[in-house]
């Protein structure tokens, strides 16, 4: 028996002491199956109600789901889609993450065509665009969000270049017509608009207004800054409903934690929320702290939870005590800082934000910027946004300023909570 075998056994041992088959959290891009999503999706009752109410109606609707990074937009719309899949048999629902350099019409076309695998014309369209048609949808490991991946649908790899057809909107309409012959309702979910520059998204929406006025239902995810208010208040009137997903409250976060842990336990064991063992190997106290630290952002809960459990497993802890939690949090901060894909420039910016505790386009000085070898705040915006994607920074919800500060994940030690506006 090699050392590796020994280590593996040790770890498996620890987990089983915790009552877990595996660590249920995900760092970033792994997948949870449909059933797993059902298990872990927590809260958002009001929002679900609002959206599902709409689906009781006949007339097609356009729904915008917006919120900050990691708040659970993808999970939300996937949950909606899976409900529709289960309950509304006459509905064709499809999902796509918006590829870069692609317009909405093309994305919608791809999503729809992929779902209509028996339709020859649809498959032909895919062919023309340089995409391989599939006979059956495949459980693909795509770029899911917060561990919630694509379910029964294709999640696009971001690097696949799609050759747009000449008149994507028209092609889409043709395809839609065909689809509507078989189904009474077609729902297209286009995700990750918030990954793109908000100004570009505006452009996209402006250009594809016709698309949104066609016969299909649309669910788009968006970025809160600037976009939403303008889209809603402008004459364009593009959306029928704009749902904001806010941070979960503590109680809901706690319940989500329990759900996650339950999903990794053997099928027969399902703890109730108020059972202290529900959060094992966390103690209720450390679970609470963890939830506090996550600030109601599901993604952060996942990441912190994952790192903490990894650390705990490595040291073979039976329980995640406060001390173990502390170690785990510090470990998380270190790991997050050391994520691959971060360049030296990214670190310069990150360090500046850490040093100043907060950075905004109002308060930044020319000296600060020159330290980063730039002279405009706009020049570091892409880096700031990238750091947000990497869960290192967050943008504060204000329209007065573009203000960034470190996420709670980066602060290794537990600190007294500060008031945020």
């Amino acid at each position: 028996m090699s050392e590796a075998d020994g280590i593996f056994d040790e770890l498996t041992d620890t987990l089983s002491r915790w009552g877990l088959d595996e660590i249920p959290f995900s760092e970033s891009a792994s997948s949870l199956g449909i059933s797993q999503l059902r298990e872990v999706f927590t809260g958002r009752t009001e929002e679900l109600r609002e959206v599902l109410t709409l689906f009781q109606g006949r007339e097609r609707k356009r729904i915008l789901v917006y919120g900050w990074v990691g708040i659970g937009k993808t999970a939300f719309i996937l949950e909606i889609l899976s409900v529709l899949q289960r309950k509304a048999k006459d509905t064709l629902a499809t999902y796509i993450s918006l590829p870069p350099e692609t317009d909405l019409a093309t994305a919608a076309l791809v999503a729809l065509a992929r779902k209509m695998e028996d339709d020859e014309w649809a498959q032909h369209q895919l062919n023309l665009m340089g995409l391989r048609p599939r006979k059956r949808p495949v459980q693909k490991t795509g770029r899911g969000k917060a561990g919630i991946a694509s379910i029964g649908v294709e999640a696009e790899e971001t690097t696949v270049p799609v050759t747009s057809p000449r008149f994507p909107a028209l092609s889409f309409e043709d395809l839609l017509e065909r689809a509507l012959k078989k189904y009474s309702r077609v729902v297209i979910a286009i995700d990750d608009l918030d990954k793109q520059d908000p100004a570009r998204v505006r452009e996209l929406l402006r250009n594809d207004q016709g698309l949104l006025k066609s016969g299909a239902w649309f669910m788009l995810t968006g970025h809160p800054s600037g976009l939403t208010r303008d889209i809603l208040t402008s004459d364009l009137g593009l959306f029928d409903l704009a749902i904001e997903l806010k941070a979960l409250d503590q109680a809901t976060t706690y319940r989500m934690l329990v759900n996650y842990l339950n999903s990794a336990r053997s099928k027969r064991i399902r703890y109730n929320f108020d059972d202290p063992s529900a959060v094992r190997p966390f103690t209720p106290e450390t679970a609470r702290i963890l939830c506090e630290r996550s600030d109601g952002v599901p993604r952060w809960l996942n990441r912190l939870g994952s790192y903490v459990l990894l650390k705990a497993a490595t040291i073979g802890a039976d329980l995640v005590t406060e001390d173990v939690l502390q170690q785990g949090l510090e470990y998380a901060a270190r790991q997050l800082r050391g994520q691959s894909g971060l360049t030296a420039e990214d670190y310069y910016v990150l360090d500046l934000v850490l040093e100043k505790r907060t950075l905004s386009d109002e308060t930044v000085t020319l000296t600060d910027l020159e330290r980063l070898k730039v002279r405009e705040f706009s020049e570091i915006l892409p880096i700031l946004e990238k750091l947000v994607q990497y869960d290192l920074l967050r943008r504060l919800p204000s329209e007065r300023v573009a203000q960034y500060e470190p996420t709670p994940l980066l602060i290794g030690k537990t600190e007294p909570k500060e008031e945020k506006d």
Binding site: A199, R202, E203, D230
Partner: protein, 747 residues
């Protein structure tokens, strides 16, 4: 005939021209002639020899010697034959010289011992020949000294003195005297003199012309050359013929008579080919090539240089090879093909080092330095010039030293170190004056003037340019004159005297056309265009620039072309033709990138950016917001690389405006703040006010009224301080709106 007692020279009537100077050793011939003339049996002594061989000089010297000796007490009469038409002419001169009337001449001649010198017997027109002959007979019993190219049996008994080429010593001495004028030649120079003299067959006239060329004294050379061209036909010795042709051609070239020179060189080529004189042929090819180069026919020049190069290689003439490589390099340089020029110079340098030719090495270092200078690599250029200077000093080559000092000065000038540039130019000038190098002096005066001009000392510059101009006129240096006129015009232009500048440019232009100097012409056209442009005559300026452009294309002068395109673009811009301007800027940029001139590239990019900005603003007004955005962003990318913060802030503000219009309020806000930050840094009050106004409006839209009012108040205050009442009023309006909304909110 009674032999009269001798008299002193002052008492002997004569009309001799002044004694020739310099005069080199011809003792043999002199004695022969004098002996003949003093011989009672001889009536006539004839000096016979080919044209330009020095017969006249010799005759004059002989006459003066006899004058000093006092032998011909009756008088010595100098008759330049070409002026004689009839016996009357002769009598006239005799009368005047001797101071006797016509009637008394016969008597005088019979009673006194006289000497008649008839210079250029063979130049007398056929029809007058017999007249003169008869008169000469009548002049007897005086003695007659005749100079002639051919042997004319006119009178007898005649003693013929053959006048041939100088012996080597004498010819070197002649050359040295003519070249060095007052000073001693160095041994290297003496050696060169000997070589040249030998090449010219020790022919005095050829030597004189050559010496004149070397001195740079073109006016005198021209006169001699005119003389000499008459005698070409006489030369039977092919070698001498080729040498003389070559010399005449050089002279013509120096005068700017390129077509004449071309013809002569080609004749010279023929002879050289007949002689199988490869060395001479390749030298002539080189000179011809230079003419084509000056005319702008670069392809032909290249072809000839390559031919010459091939000969040099065949001859194993490394020295010549490296010189030709240099010439070739110069052409590629002119074309803008700097890489190739560099390569050739390096090849040449390597040969020079191998040959241990320090002089040549330093010259090539200079050439290399020039290329680096053109590229903007000033440090490297400086280093090379210093290396070259050190060699020149070691060699004691003052001429070269002063040239290199000039080059160094130019670099310091370019860097803005005017004091150092001045010091170096003065040092160089001092050397030129010491050397008596008028050509160089006039060029250095030009350079000095440039520095004064840059300092703003227009009077000083004017003075120096005028001095330089005077020199070029004295030297008959047409090229130099046209350049000096060009520079003078610049000063007039700077003073605002457009009419004066115009006049001078046109004069300069005329000269360039006369010279067939295309490069010069293109440059002057360019300057003329600027004047028209300044006067507001854009159409006129356009026309001139286009003419200049056509010339630069003909020359294959990429750098010049890029510069003209730049100016053309500016005119289109001034006329409001933005698309045209952009197109031309683009063309210019492509060229500049080709040659690799970073500084000029940046200048053009910046100029273009201004046009792009204007175009962008137009697009905004037309509602083409996304197009405008793309333009502004393109510009911003350029400005981010430079240091012009104001221009950068302007562009960022424009971008903010467009985002504002598009409704991208978040982006607009960030950009307004970015622009504001830069304006605050450069303390551009107007810009600050503009940004704050924009921000104010934005804040109203976003609903942050306190912030809005704060920004607008600040903007208003700035406008007040600037006295910009219009703007203040506009801001006041917006403030009213803000306060109004605030009131409503409170309710």
């Amino acid at each position: 005939m009674k032999s009269s007692p001798k008299r002193s020279a002052s008492q002997i009537p004569n009309n001799l021209p002044p004694r020739p100077s310099p005069f080199v050793n011809r003792e043999t011939e002199i004695q022969q002639a004098i002996n003949a003339l003093l011989d009672s049996q001889v009536s006539v002594a004839a000096l016979v020899g080919i044209a330009g061989i020095g017969k006249t000089t010799l005759a004059l010297e002989i006459a003066h010697r006899l004058l000093s000796r006092g032998d011909f007490t009756g008088g010595i009469i100098w008759l330049p034959a070409r002026n004689l038409r009839s016996s009357d002419d002769i009598i006239g001169i005799v009368e005047t010289t001797l101071g006797v009337s016509r009637a008394e001449i016969r008597a005088w001649l019979n009673s006194h011992q006289c000497l008649v010198v008839l210079d250029g017997l063979d130049e007398i027109d056929k029809q007058h020949e017999s007249t003169v002959e008869r008169f000469l007979i009548e002049l007897l019993p005086s003695k007659v000294l005749v100079t002639s190219r051919k042997h004319l049996e006119v009178l007898s008994p005649t003693v013929v003195v053959e006048v041939g080429a100088l012996d080597e010593k004498a010819s070197v001495e002649l050359f040295s005297l003519l070249w060095g004028q007052q000073r001693e030649l160095s041994s290297a120079e003496r050696q060169t003199a000997a070589e040249i003299a030998r090449a010219l067959g020790n022919h005095p006239l050829a030597i004189t012309i050559a010496a004149g060329l070397v001195r740079g004294d073109y006016a005198e050379t021209r006169n001699l050359a005119l003389q000499a061209s008459d005698i070409l036909g006489e030369l039977e010795n092919k070698q001498e013929r080729a040498a003389l042709l070559h010399t005449l051609a050089s002279s013509a070239q120096a005068q700017g008579d390129y077509s004449g020179a071309e013809l002569l060189y080609q004749q010279s080529l023929e002879v050289e080919e007949q002689l199988g004189d490869l060395q001479g042929k390749s030298a002539t090819l080189n000179n011809l090539a230079q003419i084509y180069f000056t005319r702008g026919d670069l392809d032909r020049a290249l072809a000839l240089y390559f031919e010459s190069l091939e000969i040099k290689e065949r001859l194993g003439d490394l020295q010549g090879k490296s010189a030709t490589l240099n010439n070739l390099a110069q052409i590629y340089f002119t074309r803008g093909d700097l890489d190739r020029a560099l390569a050739l110079y390096f090849e040449s340098l390597e040969i020079k080092e191998r040959l241990g030719d320090l002089q040549g090495k330093s010259a090539t270092l200079n050439n290399l330095a020039q290329i680096y200078f053109t590229r903007g690599d000033l440090d490297r250029a400086l280093a090379l010039y210093f290396e070259s200077l050190e060699i020149k000093e070691r060699l004691g080559d003052l001429q070269g030293k002063s040239a290199t000092l000039n080059n160094l000065a130019q670099i310091y000038f370019t860097r803005g170190d005017l004091d150092r540039a001045l010091a170096l130019y003065f040092e160089s000038l001092e050397i030129k004056e010491r050397l008596g190098d008028l050509q160089g002096k006039s060029a250095t005066l030009n350079n000095l003037a440039q520095v004064y001009f840059a300092r703003g000392d227009l009077d000083g510059a004017l003075r120096l340019y005028q001095e330089s101009l005077a020199l070029t006129e004295r030297l008959g240096d047409i090229r130099g004159k046209s350049a000096a006129l060009n520079n003078l015009a610049q000063v007039y232009f700077a003073r605002g005297d457009l009419a004066g500048a115009l006049r001078l440019y046109q004069e300069s232009l005329a000269l360039t056309e006369r010279l067939g100097d295309i490069r010069g012409k293109a440059a002057v056209l360019h300057n003329l265009a600027q004047i028209y442009s300044t006067r507001g005559d854009l159409a006129g300026a356009l026309h001139l620039y286009q003419e200049s452009l056509a010339l630069t294309e003909r020359l294959g002068d990429i750098r010049g072309k890029a510069a003209v395109l730049h100016n053309l673009a500016q005119i289109h811009f001034a006329r409001g033709d933005l698309d045209g301007a952009l197109r031309l800027y683009q063309e210019s940029l492509v060229l500049l990138e080709q040659i690799g001139l970073p500084q000029e590239l940046e200048r053009v990019k910046n100029a273009r950016a201004l046009v792009l900005n204007e175009l962008g603003k137009q697009y905004v007004e037309q509602g083409r917001w996304y197009d405008a955005l793309h333009l502004f962003e393109e510009n911003l990318a350029i400005y981010r690389q430079g240091n012009d913060l104001d221009a950068r802030a302007d562009t960022i503000y424009q971008i903010a405006r467009v985002h504002h219009l598009l409704g991208n309020l978040d982006k607009a806000r960030t950009h307004y703040r970015d622009a504001l930050r830069l304006y605050e840094h450069t303390q551009n009050q107007s810009g600050i006010a503009t940004c704050k106004t924009g921000l104010g409006r934005l804040m109203i839209q976003m609903g942050f009224l306190e912030d809005a009012i704060r920004e607008l108040e600040a903007a208003k205050q700035i406008c007040q301080q600037m006295g910009a009442n219009q703007r203040m009023a506009e801001i006041e309006e917006v403030l009213q709106i803000a306060n109004h909304v605030k009131e409503k909110q409170r309710i």
